[in-house]
Amino acid sequence: MSPWLLLAAAALTYASRALAVAVLPAPPPRLHATLDRMPGPLFAGLAVLAIIDAGSTTPGVLGATVGALLLASLRSMLASVLGGIAGFAVTTLLL
């Protein structure tokens, strides 16, 4: 791979990040209301994708996800991570 191709890939990646954040104008209220509803389903979908990428048959991954889900109602990063680690440990040790 040539350095120029790497630079072009880097420029494309940065441009995709900067376009909506820095170039386009602030969204109008209707679009803003829709965008405001997107984070939850977006990150839930990314969780599903991450499970599939990691190999959904891996017990540790599923156990960690279940552990995080059980504590999701606390809406805390720390609680979810601790739940995930506990779930991972339990399933890895038991299976």
């Binding site: 494309l12 889900l69 995930g84």
Partner: protein, 235 residues
Amino acid sequence: MAVVEVRAVRGMILAVLPAAFGIAVFGVVYGALAGTRLGGPMTIAASLLVFSGTVQFSLVGLADAGASAGAVLATVAALNARNLVLGAVLRPYLHVGRGRRALLAYFLVDETVGLSVAARRDAGRTLLVSGLVCGTAWLGGTVVGVAGGRLPALQPLAEAIFPVLFVALAAITSETLGNAGRAAVGAALTGLLITAVPGLAGLAPVIAAIVVAVPGRQPAAQPPRDGGERTEVER
């Protein structure tokens, strides 16, 4: 005031550490894999300039396959499409000028966007702090991998961290029961999309989120001013 700011930054760092751990471990994996194919300097430069595991791992695969420059750039563009949506979601929370937003945009990855959106009014600083931590983890892991470091024992845990982080981010950014319901539907729809069209896996979460988010209450218009003109609330 300074003590409060230090405490806030410390909180941001603590919140991003689990993500940084997973990112560092995969940085080592990437460094080890790409170092043998692209060479050490190019591999480290990629982590510094691109800062995207998805894109960088794909570049290695495409280089292995002897893909043309056009194919590489088309793949990179497709993989980065979801950044447009992530950026649009984050944009309303960044109350800084265009120049600073352009600089902060470098740090836009899934994990930093989630933490920044959850931080609401402190989104800009959260993006910067979490971005620096994640960027350092990714670059540091890459260097370790290129130098021959291996972390096979930690890889299963690192793989498990990412679904956990995204579950946490979905929970943190779902402030109402209705939004939590949307998150659950979004997850189910993503699974269906990936099963039905595996080639669209990278975009499935974005498509599902758009489908789920579009139906819903729209902001009320302001009462008419003199002359009967209606205006909507500006944000």
